[in-house]
């Protein structure tokens, strides 16, 4: 029984281009207080463009309706549970949006004099310190723009250290349970990737690791807890094996929501790791970004961190550019400052104990879901899980229903789907991460929905295979989209019925 949603009318809406009419305006500029100039004269006629073909012309009221109507076609955290495994879709506090928009912060130019940027530098320094404490590492850079960017920064740091030791080495080891960004990152950093098979608990196989770690191995990129939500119990031994051979341990911190206040990677052998501010630290995903991917390192890697580095000199914050061993910049300026502000606001709101309590609730929620769904779905790995739990569609596959179908059916029940078919080590994975900001009632409704779908799979598999049935558009043809890509609007299109 579908208890969480009902169908209601939503407005259709054309594309901006389809609503455009010559002369409609959504803007007005103040009168020019200097003499106008002739573009052709000052720029040279050849440099001046003709009008921008097809660019929209709409009024202000059409603009607000356009985006308001479109927004109603989205699901969002503000509407309910968003159990995407590995994504940590938690509540995004609104006060963080307010403070990030304060004039002195939002309008700060990266090149304004340091004397007039002490507030911003202070905020960055405070977040660096808080993240160092949370991870148990020695130094933090806030420059990376997202997790993958942090990974690249981390691997380049490792490469720089090894180069300095005389040999950058050739390989990066990556468990087959890892997120795609890990191998992609290693490749960009010029390393060949060696995938290592997880053991039947989904964890790194020590014996195997012993065998393959040699002088060519630069590092192992491990996610802990791993993408099954399982903590790598042997993490310290893993570190020892690597360190013995002069390799380093990189930790993908995407799952830190399971560890904050509970365990510090810095204490279990990790040399370098990234954090996802847009996961663990509650900054909004915004439909795909922006994020923040700070990198935390041990002392040995500190000299190589991207420049500039914040330094406190005579009661004043300043940027230190004299860092001969730095890998250099990984992006212009200092990082996604607006995201940094939000992450710090989140940490201040929780405080030390609060952060730990959040972790406890996150793990409790995942275990509660596990218990509720175990009767209905196959749990391929039985090890205790932390902040997320991964089921497989084994039982449902027998009826010809795959995880992707169950995900679509969940939409009819009023929920955003879990993460589908990741990690790869689980055939037909259902990867569920509720996060701590979900209450019991929302979790119960989710569990009921999942149980009900498991029922439907047995009684009416086609109902599930053809889901969703209650959304304004039905299942989307992604195959044709990729086979004949239409990546921009052209006059005359669409061939298909527009949403209007």
């Amino acid at each position: 029984m579908i208890a969480k949603v009902r169908s209601h009318i939503t407005q259709n809406e054309l594309l901006l281009f389809e609503q455009s009419s010559p002369g409609k305006k959504g803007y007005q500029l103040p009168p020019l207080d200097v003499p106008p100039v002739d573009a052709a004269t000052v720029l040279g006629a050849a440099n001046v463009r003709s009008e921008i073909d097809g660019f929209p012309e709409v009024s202000e009221v059409e603009t607000i309706r356009h985006f308001t109507r479109l927004s109603t076609w989205n699901y969002a955290i503000d509407l309910g549970l968003y159990p995407l495994g590995s994504c940590t879709m938690k509540y995004n506090p609104r006060v963080n949006e307010l403070v990030a928009r304060l004039d002195g912060l939002a309008w700060a130019h990266p090149y304004q004099p340091e004397a007039l940027a002490q507030g911003a530098m202070n905020i960055m320094a405070r977040l660096e310190a808080a993240l160092a404490e949370i991870t148990g590492m020695d130094a933090v850079t806030l420059q990376p723009a997202a997790g993958a960017h942090g990974e690249l920064t981390g691997i380049l740091l490792i490469r720089a250290l090894l180069e300095k030791r005389g040999n950058p080495r050739k390989k990066v080891l990556i468990p087959d349970s890892a997120h795609g960004t890990n191998p992609a990152t290693a490749a960009i950093a010029g390393y060949s990737v060696e995938n290592i098979r997880s053991n039947d608990c989904g964890s790194v196989d020590l014996a195997q690791l012993e065998r393959i770690v040699d002088q060519d191995v630069a590092a192992l990129m491990v996610t802990n807890p791993n993408t099954l939500g399982v903590f790598e119990a042997n993490i310290k031994s893993i570190a020892d094996i690597l360190h013995k051979k002069g390799a380093l341990l990189y930790m993908d911190g995407a799952n830190m929501n399971a560890l904050v206040g509970i365990a510090q990677p810095g204490r279990f052998g990790v040399d370098v790791m990234h954090l996802n501010l847009h996961k663990t630290f509650s900054t909004p995903h915004g439909g795909g970004g922006p994020g923040g991917g700070p990198v935390a390192v041990k002392k040995i890697l500190e000299p190589f961190l991207p420049l500039p580095r914040l330094k406190h000199l005579r009661n004043r914050w300043t940027f230190d550019y004299k860092r001969p061993r730095s890998i250099g910049r990984v992006r212009a300026f200092y990082g996604n400052f607006g995201v940094i502000v939000r992450a710090l606001a989140y940490i201040l709101a929780h405080g030390g104990n609060g952060l730990r309590n959040a972790t406890v609730d996150a793990v409790l929620n995942a275990n509660y879901i596990r218990k509720k769904l175990e009767p209905h779905y196959d749990l391929p790995f039985k090890a205790p899980n932390m902040h997320e739990v991964v089921f497989s569609d084994d039982r449902q596959a027998k009826h010809g229903v795959r995880t992707g179908d169950i995900a679509k059916r969940l939409i009819d029940y009023g929920f955003h789907p879990y993460t589908v078919s990741f990690p790869l080590i689980v055939r037909g994975a259902l990867m569920i991460e509720p996060t701590e900001t979900e209450g019991k009632r929302e979790l119960d409704l989710f569990a009921d929905a999942m149980a009900s779908i498991a029922q439907e799979v047995e009684t009416d598999p086609e109902l599930v295979r053809s889901a969703p049935h209650s959304t304004r558009i039905s299942r989307v043809d992604e195959v044709t989209a990729a086979r004949r890509p239409v990546l921009k609007w052209k006059p005359g299109t669409p061939s298909a019925k527009p949403a209007d």
């Binding site: 594309l15 281009f17 200097v34 100039v37 573009a39 000052v42 040279g44 463009r49 012309e57 927004s71 699901y75 969002a76 503000d78 509540y91 949006e97 403070v99 928009r101 912060l105 939002a106 090149y111 002490q118 507030g119 723009a145 997202a146 993958a148 010029g190 993490i235 365990a263 915004g286 439909g287 795909g288 970004g289 890998i327 250099g328 910049r329 992006r331 212009a332 300026f333 990082g335 201040l348 709101a349 730990r356 959040a358 609730d361 793990v363 929620n365 218990k371 205790p384 679509k408 019991k440 558009i473 039905s474 299942r475 989307v476 043809d477 890509p485 921009k488 609007w489 299109t493 298909a496």
Partner: protein, 443 residues
Amino acid sequence: MRYLPKSDSERREMLAVCGLQSAEELFAHLPEDVRFEAPLALPPGISEFEIVDYFHARSAENANGYASFLGAGVYAHYRPVMVDTVVSRGEFLTSYTPYQAEISQGTLTTIFEFQTMICQLTGMDVANASMYDGSTAVPEAALMAARITGRHRVLASRVVHPEYREVLRTYGRHGQLSIEEFGYLPDSGTLDLEDLERKIDNATGAVIVQSPNFFGIVEDIRSVAELAHKHGALLIVIFTEAVSLGILQPPVDADIVAGELQSFAIAPSYGGPYAGIIATKERFIRQMPGRLVGETTDSRGNRAFCLTLATREQHIRREKATSNICTNQALIALMATVFMSVYGKQGLRELAEQNLAKAHYLSSLLKPRFTGPFFNEFVASTNGRAPEEINQLLLKKKIIGGVALGKWYPELEHCVLLCATEMTRREHMDEVGRAFEPVPQAA
């Protein structure tokens, strides 16, 4: 705690369901020696009121109420109220990457509109859904060119934003790219085509130029394109001031355009978050980094949009992906989309014209260092005075002067890069003019 929607009784119920007495048992399986018993050395949580207070205090420690002539890759343009109104909608703000098309059409449609408008602006065939920023878009474009040409030598103009070039070097460092630079002409401030001609060879995969360049000067893209193509290299054109596209010839002769959209209603925010883009020609689509949204239909034949060509991406291709990028700058790209919708065809042109007029009024009060045509920023000579000295004078008048160039261009030690936008007021420009006037020498 207000962010945790559970009462203790609910927690107890849930623990009971899990067959546990206490929450601590949830972590019992962690090895003793990794568990961390001490509380985090962070102060206790504070109220919303105190959070607002804290950041108000920090904000007050920054510049407030100053007029500014800073540009150099970050521009102070007016942000229409509509922009924050739209991106504050929870449905946009708190949604994830639109993998589930049936409940993400809002985001998908706006990205499709974004891609379309970026193509219209740049004259390219396809544009992606965003990169982290302009600076990281540069190495991504260079790597893309390397994949296409199979060549790893990159020639970058010295008048590409210095920090963008630093990022390119960092990415290049691990050996996949070998990066060299070519110079600019000391009189015009435009790139030195002859220097490029000397350096370009058949191992060169990409030539990278910026227009308007770091000095604010418009480059002659066509001739660079001819030279690059003659040697089988691709031309990558970078822009940092998107508003210039409202009036400047789009870089149609480029093979890849990589740019920064900060000028489109994205707050300076001390350097980020911004939104970068990569746009290119149809034939290079499959080598593009980043997400793409495509038009398709649903099973009932309705128009629909979805993420597409994912086989380029890390979650499918892993180490063979065109980039490792995953999370991008979607919400910031949405700000730019709303901005483009608000200004539209006429507005963007008029906005560009105002910027042009303001910058040229300012330049008429100063001594421009170069002769090349410029958009809304330009290099002014201090007549031998230390830029610091002039900027100190201006600070006393609550004006932040231009960027001193000596640290990146020793030969320009007595030059300042100044920017004027539609927000710049004439009276402040006049103040700057006075501050630059040669100080009478005591005989």
